[in-house]
């Protein structure tokens, strides 16, 4: 796949240029995505300020989690938006995927690069702004180590969400119709990881730390960024684990994607 990197970049650039033919549309999509992040954060701040704290965390500290989760989700969807159930379903039903398979590129590379939605660039940037703003309010003294941890959180969580999208796309190749249920992980996972993990019951915590480790990826590095101690069972050194865990998770997603393609039979259209 790597040897074709130039091709994918050109494909992606072409899709951005196509949207940029209508600059107003591009700007609106970008702005609206950023506004959604801003509005969600504003609402949560209004609520948390009334209560003062949640699970021992101050509002600004929670908002750092919100920012990290939004950034990671935006990053994952900049690449993986075309893997969502409705889009893969259309690819299969229209027979477009037959053509993709005959091309001398990797199918994954083509699908990912075929369309870049600027909405998610807006989401990602608004998430990053949120992290910076909230970290300032929470009194975080940025050091290279802390910035590195924040970047690690975003990269790992994005990798995990991308893995979920890969697996879901593989599933859609087989069922054609696909299921919106995967949104529970992509949007629900982001929402869940936006609050400190100690507020959840042990079952929910276990699933989102160890099975779909988006909680591990956001929460544990955030402990380091905020200079906090984790609850029992979630020590700060686990941050070192999140990169290999995220990598392994995405690899599993890749296997599911391959299995899906192997079972792909087209729709005859």
């Amino acid at each position: 796949m790597a040897e074709h990197a130039g091709v994918y970049l050109r494909l992606a650039a072409a899709s951005v240029r196509a949207t940029a033919r209508r600059p107003a549309y591009l700007v609106v999509r970008f702005l609206s995505a950023g506004m959604i992040v801003g509005i969600e954060v504003a609402g949560v701040v209004l609520m948390l300020d009334r209560f003062g704290s949640i699970g021992g965390w101050r509002p600004a500290e929670v908002v750092v989690l919100f920012g990290l989760a939004f950034t990671a989700q935006g990053l994952a969807l900049v690449f993986g938006d075309t893997l969502e159930a409705d889009k893969v379903s259309e690819l299969v039903r229209r027979g477009t995927f037959d053509q993709v398979l005959t091309r001398p590129t990797s199918p994954l590379g083509w699908v990912v690069a075929s369309y870049v939605d600027t909405r998610f660039v807006g989401r990602m940037l608004a998430g990053a702004v949120t992290v910076a703003w909230a970290a300032d309010r929470a009194g975080v003294a940025w050091t290279p180590g802390r910035a590195g941890l924040a970047a690690l959180a975003v990269a790992c969580a994005a990798t995990i969400i991308f893995g979920v999208l890969l697996a879901a796309a593989g599933f859609t190749f087989v069922t054609v119709q696909g299921s919106e249920a995967v949104n529970v992980l992509i949007y629900g996972g982001q929402y869940l990881a936006s609050y400190p993990m100690q507020i959840y019951g042990s079952a929910l915590r276990f699933v989102f730390v160890w099975v779909i480790p988006i909680g591990l990826a956001i929460y544990v590095p955030a402990l380091g960024v905020l200079g906090r101690q984790g609850p029992a069972g979630l020590p700060g050194w686990l941050a070192w684990l999140s990169a290999p865990v995220a990598g392994a998770f995405a690899a599993l997603g890749g296997l599911a994607w391959r299995a899906g393609i192997r079972h792909y039979v087209g729709t005859g259209s």
Binding site: V28, G43, M47, I54, E180, Y191, I199, Y200, L204
Partner: protein
């Protein structure tokens, strides 16, 4: 009248036939509901009442929200606008009877199906497992039912107005994208409007967004009278508004293509 009832039935059946989407929707509502429930339990651990809400009120808000989500943000949100843009909507104007009522009847059929298959089961299960604050009398439950149906009506009326933008511009989606974040917050889908600062809350209380979610929550938690009155008033106002827009739009409708 019989024709409208038939449309209502057709809408109901159409929506009920999406079984897989229903299962995925219930799962999504359950998941977000569980997370939001955990958030409120954690918030109220050291507090009894905040901004007039206690934990039972907050949990009721959570599950009414999850139940009404697909009613307010209906998956078929853009069908009307797309029909207007493609020109199919002309057929709607040629049919006998009143177009606004026909659209309402069909839409209400679909939202009633969502109420029966999603809202009621979600609320029932949540009420069995969690200390929600729901009416304990049959009369109270009937009022809650009426409030949920009124929320569905207002949701159609607002979606109709947003869809009608397609009469004037093909960029109706861009327009909506810019207002959506604000609607999302002010309708109470991010946090209950009770947590807003005083002036903002007062403003929102007078907006047509209240009947969508906060009014049913208030009916459920005990303040039925004023909440229902607000809903009825908005149904009437939006009825006039919707009809005015339709009358204006039909006069300037341009149909592209052949």
């Amino acid at each position: 009248m019989r024709a409208y009832l038939a449309l209502l039935r057709a809408g109901f059946q159409r929506q009920t036939s999406y079984r897989l989407a229903l299962a995925a929707g219930l799962l999504t509502n359950a998941f977000f509901g569980v997370v939001r429930t955990a958030v409120f339990y954690a918030l109220y651990r050291e507090r009894d009442q905040v901004a007039g809400l206690d934990v039972a009120d907050a949990l009721t808000y959570v599950w009414v929200l999850e139940g009404l989500f697909a009613v307010v943000w209906a998956p078929w949100f853009w069908e009307l606008a797309e029909a207007i843009r493609s020109g199919e909507f002309v057929a709607e104007l040629l049919r006998p009877g009143d177009p606004y009522l026909r659209l309402l009847a069909f839409d209400l059929g679909r939202t009633l199906s969502v109420l029966v298959t999603r809202t009621v089961p979600t609320l029932t299960v949540a009420a069995l497992l969690l200390p929600l604050r729901l009416p304990a009398t049959l009369g109270g439950l009937a009022l809650l039912g009426a409030s949920l149906v009124l929320a569905a009506v207002v949701s159609f009326q607002l979606r109709f107005l947003f869809g009608s933008a397609a009469f004037w511009t093909p960029d109706y989606r861009s327009l909506f994208m810019l207002v959506f974040p604000v609607l999302w917050l002010l309708s109470g889908f991010v946090v209950p409007v009770d947590f807003f600062p005083g002036p903002l809350r007062a403003l929102v209380d007078w907006s047509p967004l209240i009947p969508l979610l906060m009014a049913p929550v208030r009916v459920a938690t005990g303040a039925a009278g004023p909440a229902l009155a607000t809903q009825v008033a908005w149904v009437a106002l939006l009825w006039l508004g919707g009809r005015a827009v339709l009358a204006l739009a039909s006069r300037r409708l341009v149909v592209h293509g052949g």
